[in-house]
Amino acid sequence: MGDEKSKVTDKAGEIAKNIWLAGVGAYGKAVEDAQGRLEKAGMEPPKLFKELVKAGTALEDDAREALESTAAARSSVEERINRVRENFHNQRPARIEDLNALHKKVDQLSRKVDRLTKALSEQGVAGGARGRKPAAAKAATKKSTTTTRKKAAARGKTTTRKR
């Protein structure tokens, strides 16, 4: 009898393992719990069916709960990965690629700053705030056709919207 029992246990273990490997995590523990309950239920055969139904219902709830909580855990695993990544990047030595990437970023940023300054000064002209930015205003008046001014105003609007 003991032999048969261990066979059952092995089989259940195998199933549990396969289920884990298949990726439906929450059920692995459930199988083991069910196994425990089955062993208990085995003592009184008439009760078996009732026990099984009861265990089944309970397991369904357990499984649902477990699945819900793994969804919550998932986000926390992601959060923790993010934290480790940040920490790691602070510690690791700079590589050529990093430096290049950084240069690129700085270039991008300075272009953006240029664009913004230009847009701001042009907007200043359009709004008539001439006194505040004389140099920029002068540059803008050099090519003071109405069409460019309109364009500039439109560009100014889009940049502000972006921000």
Binding site: W20, L21, G25, R74, V84
Partner: protein, 218 residues
């Protein structure tokens, strides 16, 4: 914090720092400035505390270990490194309950329930590492045959379970971040022969971080 939670929290700290066999319920009560009777009201002895702490541990680690089985940690080549960061997450979690590993055999013999739970955790660890390696294989980050992969996963599981004991034996006590980093490095060293150039850079970064950690520790 509720008294019950405070008992668990204090016990975990004492077990980790002083060792579980050296800590009595009286020590725990003293540390918390409560009467032993009050502690007894919540837990009928150290066994119950250990059982509950293990349950917490199993739940937390199971959740973490299920993540890569449910869904790959890296969607494509751009965030392959997330798999390596994940190893830190697992090890940090284990480190919080390190008292279990300090005298593992003893605890497993005393508590059959913990023995079963521990087995589940190891199976789950194995499944998680297998899932990670399989994903990396599919994304052509790893270059290995199925058979090699299984061997690799088993060795990684072994290290992920006993790295802490190994580190303790070899280096005695070290700061936690060094111990954890060394564990990750050890795992990566196993994967390294199967990695392409791009991810080898990551491995080298890990090595140099480790070297600077050791310099700082001296």
């Amino acid at each position: 914090m509720k008294t019950r939670d405070r008992i668990l929290y204090t016990s975990l700290a004492l077990f980790n720092e002083e060792g579980e066999p050296q800590t009595t319920t009286i020590d725990i009560a003293n540390e918390m400035d409560i009467s032993p009777g009050n502690l007894y009201y919540h837990f009928k002895g150290k066994d119950e505390i250990i059982a509950e702490l293990f349950q917490q541990y199993e739940q937390a680690l199971s959740h973490t270990l299920t993540a890569p089985i449910e869904r790959p940690l890296s969607a494509d080549h751009s965030n392959v490194e997330d798999n390596w960061y994940y190893l830190y997450v697992v090890m940090e979690e284990m480190y919080q309950y390190r008292f279990l590993y300090h005298n593992l055999d003893d605890i497993l013999q005393r508590y059959p329930d913990i023995r079963r739970g521990f087995r589940r955790l190891i199976q789950l660890k194995r499944a998680a590492l297998f899932a990670i390696c399989q994903t990396l294989l599919q994304q052509s980050v790893l270059d290995a045959r199925e058979q090699q992969l299984l061997g690799l996963v088993d060795n990684m599981t072994l290290t992920l379970t006993f790295w802490f004991n190994y580190s303790e034996l070899l280096h005695e006590s070290r700061p936690p971040h060094v111990t954890i980093h060394q564990g990750v490095l050890q795992l990566l060293a196993m994967v390294a022969p199967y990695l392409g150039d791009e991810q080898l850079n990551f491995y080298r970064d890990c090595e140099s971080i480790y070297a600077s950690m050791l310099e700082q520790a001296d």
